[in-house]
């Protein structure tokens, strides 16, 4: 027996499923992003601008250095909190 709440849930799920199916149907083909200007710029200029053969490292540490700074901060915070948490047990 379907009460009102079940009907509402079924309608909501149908709407979500329709959205997902449509977005899957209109997805970009794999490996073909919409805008390739940034990718092509990095592929063309990474050796001259950063002198690194490894383009990924040049992106991580040079073009997107702020991203790595945040990543390092996350690690630093994690280590600091773990050390702080377990220091109390030592006494």
């Amino acid at each position: 027996m379907m009460n009102q709440r079940n009907i509402l849930a079924a309608a909501f799920l149908t709407i979500v499923a329709v959205f997902l199916v449509f977005s899957a149907l209109f997805m970009h083909p794999f490996g073909e992003p919409t805008s390739q200007a940034m990718d092509q710029y990095i592929i063309d200029n990474t050796v001259e601008e950063t002198g690194a053969n490894n383009g990924v490292t040049s992106v991580v540490f040079d073009y997107r250095g702020f991203d790595t700074l945040g990543e390092a901060t996350v690690l630093f915070t994690a280590v600091a909190s773990v050390v702080m948490l377990f220091r109390r047990l030592k006494k």
Binding site: V47, E48, E49, T50, G51, A52, N53, N54, V56, T57, S58, V60, F61, D62, G65, F66, T68, L69, E71, A72, L75, F76, A78, V79, V82, V83, F86, R87, L89, K90
Partner: protein
Amino acid sequence: MKGMSTIVKTIANISFPLITIYGLYVIAHGHLTPGGGFQGGAIVASGLVLLAVAHGTDWIESKVQEHDLSILESLGALGFIGLAFVGLVMGGAFFSNFLVNTGMLFGEIPVNGAANINTGGTLPLMNFAVGLKVIAGLFAIVLVMAIATNKKEVE
């Protein structure tokens, strides 16, 4: 934690230098091959953890203090952000690669994509800083947890 048998200790002693050398290689060649500071640091830290597990917490506690690891980790973080600030002063932008194409340390440009360790500008230095940070940070986490659980068992 008391440490494992002689077989495990011997194998850990043999494989620890190899793991460390491989991790340092991954850090040092971060601008040429896949890998970098984070990945190589995780490899070296796993070798240290292997040593800690094989020999026991008491042995590793007598060799290295968690306090020193915290200092090393902070040094790595400061080196990383300090290089970024030097880029701000020398190159005009935060994280600017001020060493590239100057002919100084790591200041060459690879010719026709040929691998050359003396390239990359600030990238290898940043890899070293991040590698030091990750080694000390991950090993400090494992060490402090191992010591804490050890003391808890005694109580």
